[in-house]
């Protein structure tokens, strides 16, 4: 019991926080790459979406790097963050260059697991195993929300459940290696943990969910129709809160990741 067994110094200073310049470095690097990608996309449309891939990879790589920065309190984050961001960038470009290139997204979670092994700070943000019961509950809850989305969208707006296997597999790989991974890593991992430590759980969960929602709403891939935006707010809000609850319940990021993945697995089958 730390209140009894650990030495206490009332005047000790607060623990170290990452410097603002570190955030600025990551943001600037990501912005430069995104701008480059967009420029390439505009100037060289014949490059088969290379620029788009560059921009997508930079956004998700940047989110993962910021997650490293927050999670490690700015200690020893450079190397792993750059390597993970580079892997994301590579996968995003590979997706655009080859039909099988999306499989490269699977390298990102593998790389993240490799980089975080044995790191106590990363275990603290939830990079650890979870119990099977937590995983099953997460898949059931995420799947339920996904199916509910399909049902509601088809009954309300007449959307159809149809997709080609290749496109579906590619989208799923993107979710695994970038879309869901970066959101869970940064919002439900690093930020939720840091803010929960500073205050109460539910305010931290609502704040991180709102941030994640903002990130999704800024995604140009999201349909611009108002009903689609309203649906995104509703369902992604629920998925976000579900992932936060699962993170608190299980202590691991994995159940939240699987719940989001189950939801997106259903969402990717939807065709307007």
């Amino acid at each position: 019991m730390l209140l009894l067994s650990a030495r206490f110094e009332p005047s000790a200073v607060a623990s170290r926080r990452p410097r603002r310049s570190a955030y600025a470095q990551v943001t600037l690097a990501a912005a430069v790459v995104v701008a480059t990608g967009l420029a390439i996309e505009t100037l060289r449309p014949s490059w088969a979406g290379f620029g788009h891939g560059l921009a997508t990879g930079a956004v998700h790589g940047g989110l993962i790097a910021i997650g490293w920065l927050v999670g490690t309190n700015g200690v020893g984050w450079h190397g792993p963050a750059v390597r993970c961001a580079a892997a994301t960038l590579f996968a995003a470009i590979a997706t655009r260059l080859s039909p099988w290139g999306a499989l490269a997204f699977l390298l990102v979670p593998a790389g993240l697991i490799y980089e975080t092994r044995g790191c106590a700070a990363m275990r603290a943000i939830g990079m650890c195993a979870a119990r099977p019961a937590h995983l099953l509950a997460a898949v059931a809850a995420g799947g339920f929300l996904g199916l509910h989305l399909l049902l509601t969208a088809s009954l309300t707006f007449g959307y159809r459940v149809h997709t080609s296997p290749a496109v579906y597999a590619s989208a799923l790989a993107y979710d695994i290696g970038a879309n869901v991974l970066s959101a869970e890593w940064l919002f439900r991992g690093a930020l939720l943990t840091a803010w929960w430590r500073l205050g109460s759980f539910w305010p931290a969960a609502l704040a991180t969910t709102a941030l994640a929602l903002g990130r999704y709403l800024l995604d140009p891939a999201l349909p611009a129709a108002p009903e689609a935006r309203a649906g995104a707010v509703f369902y992604l809000g629920l998925v976000g809160l579900l992932a936060c609850s699962l993170r608190a319940w299980s202590g691991s990021l994995l159940p939240g990741f699987l719940a989001s993945l189950a939801f997106f697995a259903a969402y990717r089958t939807l065709t307007p």
Binding site: M1, A6, F8, E9, A14, A121, T152
Partner: protein, 508 residues
């Protein structure tokens, strides 16, 4: 038991779908019953979850209606049915949690007051009190520290087995009386934790236990993850009650100890009074016997002298007897008068002067040897010039009392030794020792033998006469001279009395 209400909500939605009813179906009201059930059994989280499920399951009925007909009263009713179960679940759960928390707190207060009722030592009760607090606060760990300093305080923690650092947060609270709060003990710079931060924050709070006499201890509570709603207020309230209960328990224990001590003292005093009463009764009986014996002799011999004309030789013997008995009577009356004077707190009238011990001892030994021919007396002459500064009459009475006791409590043929020497263990004092090889005195009786009216019963000396005043008088007289009397004795081996009196200055 959240699965059953959730299953019922799913069953309601299935029934609505199977019967092909719309969003305004009367069945939608059935969502509320399992939602409230979940709220009652699982609080706000359970109620919110059940209400959320009900809303989600109702959405496929309500949203298409909104899309088809726009915002009509029917579609608005359908939308309200989406939101209402969530609100009801959260509200009912919130109220239930609040009332349960209050009830738990009240139960905990009663339980800890019952446990700290002072019927058992505080250290035995602290572990149970910590467990009561842990359950009431739904905490991972709770520790109670009772005392004013961490080094000497009693510490109880549940689960048991925590080490105590003398500079820990609880010690700081104990010393300063200040509450300490940490949002995550493992990531708090003030805490020198050897544990890395975990996936959930380890909340901690250390509160002082305050009573009327100040800080009487501290309570340390740790929660893993989110503490229950209102945990801080509950901890404050329980700490206040615990502080008062600890103080009350201490006072009760102290009061009980005081009452026990008082009872023991009263019992001892009662026994002593009973003893004194018995001694007085015995004393009166002995006094009447002791006075009657010489009086009877005086009456008998005086009547004989008055009624008959005796030859001069016989008359002289009668007069000798009369004189002896009159002396005995005078000695008894003298002793009683001296003792009454001592009891009244009046000083004895002594006329101290240098007294040469040899003639005094020799005279008394010869006197007793003449009267008690069956005993063997041995007198060791003193070093040349041995003398004390004392009242000769008082000294003579002390010596006679000691010799009389030696004779009374030793068998026929027993030896009685008398000697006078400088006290080996007390410079400037002279030791007059009277020893015998009589029945001796049991060790438990030794502290009492100088008390008044005390006679040590022994079957071999039951016939010995006496008031139980002799040794008491010897002690009083010795102390009046600035000396003392001591005894060493072994039952069956004999006794040795040492009369220690101040010697003449520059004698030894």
């Amino acid at each position: 038991m959240i699965a059953l209400p959730l299953g019922l909500i799913a069953a309601v939605a299935t029934a609505m779908a199977l019967t092909g009813q719309g969003s305004d179906s009367v069945l939608r009201h059935l969502y509320l019953a399992p939602t409230i059930w979940a709220a009652l059994s699982r609080g706000a989280i359970g109620g919110g979850l059940a209400g959320g499920l009900a809303g989600l399951l109702h959405a496929p009925f309500a949203l298409p209606a909104v899309e088809r007909a726009g915002l009509t009263s029917r579609s608005l009713d359908g939308l309200l049915s989406l939101v209402l179960p969530v609100l009801v679940g959260l509200l009912v759960g919130h109220l239930v949690e609040g009332s349960r928390a209050r009830a738990d707190r009240l139960r905990a207060v009663l339980a800890l007051k019952r446990r700290l009722d002072g019927q058992c030592p505080l250290e035995d009760a602290l572990g149970d009190v910590a467990e009561i607090l842990r359950r009431a606060l739904r905490a991972r760990r709770v520790a109670l520290v009772v005392g004013h300093d961490i080094r000497s305080a009693r510490v109880a923690s549940v689960p048991t087995g925590s080490l105590v650092d003398t500079s820990c947060a609880a010690a700081v609270t104990l010393a300063s009386g200040q509450a300490i709060t940490s949002r995550d003990l493992r990531a708090d710079a003030r805490v020198w934790a050897d544990e890395a931060p975990g996936a959930s924050p380890l909340r901690g709070i250390s509160l002082p236990l305050v009573s009327g006499s100040g800080v009487v201890g501290a309570i340390a509570v740790e929660w893993l993850g989110e503490p229950p709603r209102g945990a801080r207020a509950a901890a404050d309230e329980l700490a206040a009650h615990t502080g008062l209960a600890v103080e009350n328990a201490r006072l009760t224990i102290r009061q009980q100890r005081f009452a026990e001590e008082l009872s023991e003292k009263v019992a001892a005093a009662t026994a002593r009074l009973r003893e004194l009463d018995e001694a007085k009764t015995e004393f009166l009986s002995v006094v009447s016997h002791e006075l009657r014996t010489p009086l009877t002799a005086l009456q008998g011999f005086s009547e004989l002298l008055l009624r008959s004309t005796l030859p001069p030789e016989k008359a002289r013997r009668c007069l000798v007897y009369l004189h002896t008995e009159a002396c005995t009577l005078g000695r008894i009356v003298g002793e009683m008068l001296d003792l009454s004077r001592i009891e009244a707190g009046r000083p004895l009238e002594l006329r101290p002067e240098p007294v040469d011990l040899d003639p005094l001892l020799e005279r008394n030994v010869e006197l007793f040897a003449t009267e008690h021919r069956e005993h063997r007396f041995r007198w060791t002459s003193s070093p040349p010039g041995a003398a004390v500064h004392a009242d000769p009459d008082a000294l003579d009475r002390m010596l006679k009392n000691l010799l009389s006791n030696a004779v009374k409590y030793s068998p026929s043929g027993g030896r009685v030794g008398v000697s006078a020497n400088p006290a080996p263990d007390d410079p400037g004092m002279v030791e007059v020792a009277v020893e015998d090889d009589g029945v001796g005195i049991p060790a438990e009786q030794l502290p009492r033998i100088f008390d008044k009216y005390v006679r040590v019963p022994h079957p071999e000396t039951a016939a010995a006469r006496g008031l139980g005043l002799g040794l008491s008088l010897v002690k009083a007289l010795a102390e009046a001279h600035g000396g003392r009397v001591e005894v060493e004795s072994l039952p069956g081996k004999g006794s040795r009395f040492r009369l220690l009196l101040p010697g003449l200055k520059g004698q030894f």
